[in-house]
């Protein structure tokens, strides 16, 4: 019996060691990138890829990138979009979800199926036509172009289904009572459904923040003025401006990833729970 126990224990220890090294492999690039963004050029090119302590600690790279492009403006733009768009997405998706979950009207099933079927159409199909629509509407190079299209993209359509599922699980008695008392549907939606759906709404908000912050292709083809670019696009422009200067690229990358990492670490339960329950939420 003791032999088997020992074998299991050794197996466990080996497993944990392997997992630990795997964790290291996953996190190390981030640790290296962030710490290296605070190094001097000399230390960066000193040739030791395991050197993670900036010595001396310097903001040189950050100062340099600010001279080339308005990086902090990029970050601000992204912050603005990543907080505004999720709110609007939630507003639109939750209203539609409530309608699908609770309200009866002719054509409801047709529209529901229509939404459902387009989830299977990949985003690259609508890329070019939407770009041309932006030109026609004179929305190119305006924030509207970055705010409105995400309200109807695949992710928000999925949000409708996600929220509908959640709303269906809210006990109907509350709403029925309110309606009999004369509440309008909007009041029911605002005062009963939404407050009872906070975890679902929070989940969407957090995942959406991440998606909007990481937006790249659409903003790149739709925006032209530097000052309006979100961070990921700005980072790509930084690369073409700076080309191989390691410290500066890493400083830009750090600005581009730190917010998502912080949000992820604080709210990891939301990310992981959504994936485990619905399968969606990955890249």
């Amino acid at each position: 019996m003791e032999c088997v126990d020992l074998r299991i224990k050794v197996g466990q220890i080996v497993f944990y060691i392997v997992m630990f090294f795997m964790s290291l492999i996953m996190i190390y690039p981030f640790i290296w990138a962030v710490t290296s963004s605070f190094k001097t050029t000399a230390q960066l090119y000193s040739g030791n890829p395991f050197d993670v302590i900036p010595n001396p600690f310097t903001l040189y790279s950050y100062k340099k990138i600010m001279e080339i492009l308005p990086v902090w403006r990029f970050a601000l733009n992204s912050l603005f979009l990543s907080t505004l768009v999720p709110v609007l997405q939630i507003a639109l998706a939750s209203m539609a979800a409530y309608s699908f979950a609770r309200l009866k009207f002719k054509g409801k099933n047709v529209i529901f199926l229509m939404f459902l079927s387009t989830l299977m159409i990949p985003g690259h199909i609508t890329l070019i036509p939407n770009f041309i629509i932006m030109r026609v509407l004179h929305w190119t190079d305006k924030y509207v172009a970055l705010i409105v299209p995400p309200l109807v993209d695949g992710q928000n359509i999925f949000n409708i289904f996600f929220l509908r599922q959640y709303f269906l699980s809210i006990p109907k008695e509350l709403e029925d009572a309110a309606i009999i008392d004369g509440c309008s549907f909007f009041k029911v939606f605002k005062s009963i459904i939404l407050p009872n759906a906070k975890p679902a709404l929070a989940t969407i908000a957090i995942l959406s923040f991440n998606t909007i912050w990481n937006m790249f292709l659409w903003p790149m083809i739709v925006m032209q003025t530097y000052e309006k670019m979100p961070i990921q696009v700005g980072l790509a422009y930084l690369k073409s401006a700076v080309s191989t200067n390691m410290g500066e690229l890493l400083a830009g990358s750090t600005v581009a990833i730190i917010p998502t990492i912080i949000v992820f670490l604080v709210f990891q339960k939301y990310f992981i729970k959504t994936i485990v329950n619905t399968g969606l939420g990955g890249q």
Binding site: F15, M22, M26, F30, I125, V152, S253, A256, V276, G282
Partner: protein, 313 residues
């Protein structure tokens, strides 16, 4: 005679209360439409109309400077004559073959290893494995540019220190550029699929394993006859998503190679972007987009058929 405002409620029926001349049911219908209206309008324009518009554009020759010219199916014919299309197709398939089995096996095995371990260490592992997934591929791509740097990047420095002098030139080599991208994407993606497998594993009842233990089954048998079959739904879902994901690599290519060297990392999606937004061939790019859709659709259909066949067996 009942008072006009008395409510008759039957089971699940909407109360037939009359307010003015509008029945409750009508109010509900109006509300139903109003709640949907904002997103429906946007949807009709940016999804429904867009999809149809895309089909129309694919039948034209359009550079955005001059008006579009209708050329019928000429774009599609040209795609099949385009040498670069076949190279792009080959590259894309290469990525699929490199990524799908690797991530499948890696994420499944580690999910099994981490299954039912609820301690803080296991949680730390899960978080660290999934973290690369939520970061932007543009920023991550920049970091991996350094990792793959042929002279002082992380990987080659390690290889040098192991005594290997003939190291791959990674993103600058026509042989190693695709494997480099595969490594980077596997690194970034597998954590998410591991979580999917963890979810799938949670649905397997412990009693099955206990019964097997009573029968004297050891690890391999348990895996082969319980875990693997019970995971078949998850595996199926993961495989489909992985294939689509492998087709969708874009940002990594954009920031790390731009399709180079010599077009060896050019994929269908990147080629669509190149045609649409670098050479402004809107019609051709749209045709490519529909071909990509057709390929993905066909692949998904095939997988569903295969699955149904295997379930019938």
């Amino acid at each position: 005679m009942m008072p006009a405002n008395e409510i008759k409620v039957a089971d699940n029926a909407t109360p037939r209360k009359r307010i003015g001349r509008i029945t409750m049911a009508k109010r509900e219908a109006i509300a139903g439409w109003l709640f949907i209206l904002p997103i429906l309008l946007g949807f009709l324009v940016f999804v429904v109309f867009s999809i149809i518009y895309s089909m129309v554009i694919s039948l034209t020759k359009w550079d955005l400077l001059t008006p579009p010219v209708f050329i019928g199916l000429e774009n599609y014919a040209e795609v099949f004559r385009d040498e670069r299309f076949y190279q792009v197709l080959y590259n894309t398939v290469y990525f699929v073959i490199g990524i799908v089995p690797t991530v499948l096996i890696l994420s499944m095995l580690i999910a099994i290893g981490l299954n039912n371990k609820v301690n803080k260490m296991a949680n730390f592992f899960k978080i660290s494995f999934f973290m690369p997934n939520i970061t932007s591929s543009i920023a991550v791509g920049m970091i991996w540019l350094w990792i793959f740097n042929p002279t002082d990047g992380l990987i080659n420095t390690i290889l040098f220190s192991l005594g290997i002098s003939n190291v791959p030139q990674w993103l600058q080599s026509t042989t190693w550029a695709k494997p480099a991208l595969i490594i980077m994407r596997v690194w970034q993606m597998w954590g998410y699929y591991m979580l999917l497998f963890l979810a799938g594993l949670q649905t397997i009842p412990q009693t099955l394993y206990e019964a097997a233990e009573v029968d004297g089954a050891r690890k391999w048998k348990k895996f082969r006859y319980i875990t693997l079959p019970m995971l078949s739904n998850t595996t199926f879902f993961v495989t489909i998503m992985l294939i689509i994901g492998a087709f969708n690599i874009f940002e990594a290519i954009f920031v790390m190679t731009e399709g180079r060297p010599a077009g060896t990392t050019n994929t269908l999606l990147y080629y669509i972007y190149y045609n649409g937004f670098q050479t402004y061939r809107m019609g051709y790019a749209s045709a490519l987009a529909w071909i990509l859709f057709a390929i993905l659709f066909a692949l998904t259909l095939i997988q569903f058929r295969l699955r149904r066949k295997s379930e019938d067996m």
